[in-house]
């Protein structure tokens, strides 16, 4: 199992996450797609860290996790708030800023 496999897996996970964000209407699912993309990035960072033999990538992965945790808090709060006011979790309904 070479490092390349990790990178391929990271790419697949990223693509799955991106597809979920682009294709699904449910806000929760799209949100999970975002998380998946972040974690795919984390995997790639760690892999490159191994590849180059320094710790920069792993440190960055921690940063991403922290940001992701904060993002989950804010994002879920927004989704809950939207659901409460609009009785829907579909992101296509959230287009009021369009004139």
């Amino acid at each position: 199992m070479t490092l390349t496999h990790y990178l391929v897996l990271s790419g697949i996970l990223f693509s799955v996450g991106a597809s979920a964000v682009l294709l699904r209407r449910n806000a929760i699912i799209a949100f999970m797609g975002v998380e998946l993309m972040l974690n795919a990035t984390n995997l790639a960072l760690v892999t490159f860290s191994r590849l180059h033999g320094d710790l920069t990538g792993q440190v960055l992965a921690f940063f991403v996790m922290v940001v992701a945790a904060a993002e989950v808090v804010v994002g879920l709060a927004i989704i809950v708030a939207i659901f409460r006011t609009r009785r829907s979790a579909s992101i296509d309904d959230v287009n009021l800023l369009k004139s």
Binding site: A18, L23, A30, I91, D92, V94, N95, L96, L97, K98
Partner: protein
Amino acid sequence: MHASALTATLPALSPVVNPAGLPASGGVWSFAWLVVALPLTSAALLLLLGRRSDRWGHWLGVLASAGAFVVGLLAMLEVLGHDASSRVWNLRLGTWIDAGALHLDAGLRFDPLSLTFVLLVTFVGTLIHVYSVAYMEHDENRRRFFAYLNLFVAAMLLLVLADSYVLLFVGWEGVGLASYLLIGFWNHHTPYAVAAKKAFVANRVGDVGLLVAMGLIFANFGALDFGTVLAHPADHASEGTLTWIGLALLLAACGKSAQFPLQSWLGDAMAGPTPVSALIHAATMVTAGVYLIVRSGAVFEAAPTAQLVVVVIGAITLLFGAVVGCAKDDIKKALAASTMSQIGYMVLAAGLGPVGYAFAIFHLVTHGFFKAGMFLGAGSVMHGMDDQVDMRRFGGLARYMKITWVTFMMGWLAILGIPPFAGFFSKDKIIEAAFIPVDGATWRAWVFGSVALLGAGITAFYMSRLFFMTFEGERRWTTRKDGSEQHPHESPALMTWPMIILAVGSVGLGLVLALGNRFTGWLEPVTGHVEHEEPVLPAGVLVALTLAAVVVGLVLAWRRYATSTVPVVPPLGTALTRAARVDLYQDAVNDAVLVEPGQHLTRSLVYADHAVVDGGVKGLTHATVGLGALLRRLQTGYVRTYAATMLGGLVVLLVVVLAVQS
């Protein structure tokens, strides 16, 4: 003042004896500026006080004009008390313009020429003021009318008293403004407002000439005051330049004096109240052009070509006005055509050089009297005939308006040039001067002399026609506007007295001024003394010929308009009559040559403005808006679209970075 005594002290052919003039101070000169200030202040007061001065405003106007006359008379007496060589006085009012190379003092120049004008303008002007008190009695805007009259007089006085072309120009424009206001005094009537506009525009064309002349003079002389410019023009500029200056000045004179080809405004200017017509034709306005030419005489003498053009213009206008006058049925328009013709005589004389200057001004003065008298007479007739102006609807008025009839007759005999009435002494001299060869060119003497002689005959015809149609023959009156019977009546004393005084002037002024060459001698400090050559025909023969032409015209008019029936409806007439009725197609020609091309030009400019300038600006805005509309489509409001855009952008960035790096 004897002419022979003067000639001894004057160098022959000198245009201006003492061009710089003597500094005027003390005595009458300490308040001589009042001559302009009085009517100007009165005009300002009447306009500023508004309706508050309605009750006494007209008398203030009369007083201001009369006061100016008194001041002018005092100045005249002061000047008369001096020797002929020191009769040019400069009254300095202060520095006016001090800008780089141009240093100009504002000042008034009192010399025989300007004083002649001052007295004519204020005397005739005051009489017309008095007349207007009664004539405009029922007009609720009489006070405003008097304010304008005062402004007119003040502007004309400034024009003739100015000691530089620039100050003259101020008066020149003031006259233009006042004439516009007065011609359009009844501007609630659209044709009258249009007539005022026409006069204003025609005058502006002339003003361009004066501006060009001033520019040329300043460029070549470095000064604009008469003292410098007129002293020795030939030292400062070549003959070619002087010719152009002269032609530009002539253009200015043509505009103001209604000379060919800028004559078209004069007939329409009859839209103003009749006293205005009298003022325009006798004292202010149309005489300004003659004044300008005579004042700039030194320039013209140094440019013989320009002088010849002046004579030609005068001759053309003389005949033009006379022919038009023969066909007009509107009494005021016939008089207007007559003015044009008479001013043509003056311009012709002014173009003859020093020989003619004094006669031009002499005729101007006598004409001022008899023409003002006749215009006031016409106003009196209109006053008594319910504002009727069609002479075919007059007839037999002599019995009903005795004073108007007699005073008008004096003016009529004067303009005909019947001795010893005023016109005989002035017009006859012009005809004689026209017959004098200039520089030995006898063809000029014959051509211009014959034109002047012919003009005298036609003048006799149309003025007699006017007189007979109005006062003689049988009654051809219509009913009044309200349908009642026409009751012609004599005008009130305030109107008849000015007419009587002017009639006295029309009778005696010529003889008084001509005796012993008084008038020509008086003007010599300005016009210079010149021993002229003999006319191509003996003077006695010329007088006889002129009188014969006058009598022929008179008898023709008598037979056609006094002893035979005058048709109430104008007959078709010959082609010339029909042309003369529409002023020899002057308006049609102006329309075709100037107005329509001008309108087409403006229309195409407006089109170009819309299509090119506006089109460019509007095109830019349309393009911006269109682009915005296109870009707006990208903003769908769907989160996934934005996400996809971000993703796509990222991919593009990656590709670009990789492509650049490899």
